[in-house]
């Protein structure tokens, strides 16, 4: 039997990122009207949990931190086949950077159960720090691995991590925290049974006061060593020479530029 926790995050749908603007006065991001979805990598973490449960038996508990509306994404996770879901939603935990977020999630995990394996998406689409799996590992005093492209249980969790030059295989003692990438699996379609069952499963919203053994200094804004300054839109500053003329004339100019840069290639 394997008790599995999966951390999920409700994020603005990446399909709509082009609609995000910056308020020229406040220099803050304007993301009104953009729908929320489960972070994509987290869906792969849920899928990985479903497969581990099929192979080893056990339970799947979803945990998340976010506004009350994030219940929607937890409900969707239950419809994917998870067994129970907990959301920590409280002003006291708001404004958190990755260190404070991972601390809060670690306390939520410790409050709602005892787990052998904790899965997360490797990174979120919005902030994309990819810090949370490693930091959760430290807070929970557990082994951890990120950038994981394959995972299974064999006397510990055997994970394959993707590095630049190749893939490394490690066996982690349990409990452990694993950052799952989309490469790890294909997410299955939801079936009617799990969708119908979802509404009858446990879905609880907790406040900071519900968390066990919390040290307030690590929560929220106060517990966040890093701060956000201004945001700016990306923009280029090259003086681009626009080539003019008919297609043939333009092609001639492009050929000349190519020759100037890389030289004329000798015909074999």
């Amino acid at each position: 039997m394997m008790n599995i926790a999966v951390c999920i995050k409700s994020v603005p749908d990446p399909e709509y990122y082009e609609k995000i603007t910056i308020d020229p006065e406040s220099k803050r991001l304007v993301r009104d009207g953009i729908p929320a979805v489960i972070n994509e990598a987290d869906c792969h973490a849920i899928e990985a949990a479903l497969r581990l449960k099929e192979q080893n038996g056990g339970t799947i508990t979803l945990v998340s931190m976010g506004p009350p509306a994030a219940k929607e994404q937890l409900l969707e996770g239950l419809a994917m086949g998870a067994d129970a879901a907990y959301l920590i939603s409280d002003r006291k935990v708001g404004g958190a950077d990755s260190l404070a977020t991972s601390y809060t999630l670690s306390k939520l995990i410790e409050t709602v159960g005892t787990f052998d394996v904790i899965l997360t998406g490797n990174e979120s689409a919005d902030g994309a720090t990819a810090h949370v799996p490693s930091q959760l590992g430290v807070w929970l005093n557990a082994a951890h691995a990120t950038n994981v492209v394959d995972l299974y249980y064999d006397n510990g969790m055997v994970v394959t991590k993707q590095f630049e030059t190749g893939r490394g295989k490690y066996r982690l003692q349990t409990p452990c925290v694993i950052g799952v990438t989309p490469k790890a699996n294909e997410v299955r379609f939801k079936n009617v049974r799990t969708i119908l069952e979802a509404k009858n499963k446990t879905l609880k919203v907790l406040s900071a006061a519900d968390l066990k053994d919390v040290d307030d200094q690590y929560l929220g804004l106060k517990g966040s060593p890093s701060q956000n300054g201004e945001v700016e839109a990306m923009s280029g500053n090259k003086e681009c020479k626009m080539l003019q003329g008919t297609e043939t004339e333009i092609a001639d100019q492009v050929v000349e530029i190519i020759h100037q840069i890389i030289g004329v290639k000798e015909e074999a």
């Binding site: 990446p14 990122y17 990755s98 689409a125 930091q135 201004e230 923009s235 840069i261």
Partner: protein
């Protein structure tokens, strides 16, 4: 607090050189800071050579248990070093190892970390770490006001720096006997190298890159034909993958893909989404073809062509 800027010297990672050069620039601005490299491993006899890359001082943490990378032991060893010497700044390359090790160290020493930065700029009496967010749509300034060290992971192949000054580095060999008693929660089982990449976009002199505008077979054929004529590697944007023609992310340019530095980059049908242009900052000359005269890619290009990519590429390939 030591007036030192540390760089994690991951073995064989090009980003170490970039970070040391950037650290020298920062040291000049803030004054009297020493740029130091931190090397871990089981055999560090060459660690002093990090002086050639710009390190004034090298901290060598050598122990048999550090032969293979294991996150928990590496992080513990680094934590100990940080507690002992208390550097003010500490930078990692945002490689797979750096992206795992840096947040682990941060959680152990309880400081702040800016992730996957594309630049580090000193201003307003603080170090501003420029971090792309929302898929690179915006760049956020992240700073760490109070906690120390200020930590950042920086994407490889993006920093633009002057050549670093070389040093005859001072070597500090740490006592690592505490590692004799440490057990790891990780067992290293093996490493399988990537298959040799025949289309290596990172080292190619010429790169021809496809964007969302390459929709037809004819335009794709024209692009591959041009690449063939100029011995160029073929790359693409995230949006091009979304069109379904290719799946492979190993030839993708951008913040979640690779950075290129060719003598010549030809962008065909690439609009220039922020996450893409982060990956082309070091291309020497850029020609872009796009049917939209307002496409952001032109602001990152030396030459621009407003027109049909298929027709232009075909005409150019025919003349080469």
């Amino acid at each position: 607090m030591a007036k030192e800027i540390w760089v994690y010297a991951q073995k064989d990672a090009d980003v170490v050189k970039e970070l040391l050069a950037k650290s020298q620039e920062i040291a000049k601005v803030i004054g009297e800071y020493k740029v130091c490299a931190v090397a871990l491993g089981d055999d560090l006899k060459d660690a002093k050579n990090l002086g050639d890359l710009g390190a004034e001082k090298v901290y060598a943490v050598e122990h048999t248990s550090l032969k293979e990378y294991r996150c928990d032991l590496y992080a513990k060893a680094i934590e100990k070093l940080v507690q002992k010497y208390q550097p003010e700044y500490f930078f990692f390359g945002a490689t797979a190892i750096g992206s795992e090790l840096a947040p682990t160290v941060v959680a152990l020493v309880k400081t702040g970390l800016a992730a996957h930065c594309i630049d580090l700029r000193y201003g307003k009496d603080r170090l501003n770490c420029m971090v792309p967010a929302f898929g690179g749509k915006v760049i956020s300034e992240i700073y760490i006001p109070n906690a120390r060290p200020v930590m950042a992971s920086v994407r490889p192949g993006i920093l633009q720096t002057e050549e670093a000054a070389k040093y005859e580095a001072e070597l500090v060999c740490e006592d690592t006997s505490f590692l004799n008693d440490e057990t790891s929660t990780e067992e290293f089982l093996g490493f399988e190298e990537n298959q040799k990449d025949t289309n290596n976009i990172e080292d190619a002199d010429v790169v021809v890159s496809a964007g969302r505008g390459i929709t037809s077979d004819a335009s794709w054929n024209a692009l591959t034909q041009l690449a063939d004529k100029v011995d160029g590697a073929i790359a693409w944007s995230r949006s091009f993958i979304d069109t379904g023609r290719v799946k492979d992310e190993s030839s993708m340019i951008g913040t979640s893909g690779k950075s290129v530095k060719p003598k010549l980059l030809v962008n065909a049908g690439v609009s220039g989404a922020a996450q893409y242009v982060c990956g082309i900052a070091r291309a020497k000359k850029v020609i872009s073809i796009n049917k939209d005269p307002k496409a952001p890619i032109f602001a990152y290009s030396d030459y621009g062509v407003v027109g049909d990519a298929e027709k232009i590429l075909t005409a150019v390939a025919a003349k080469l």
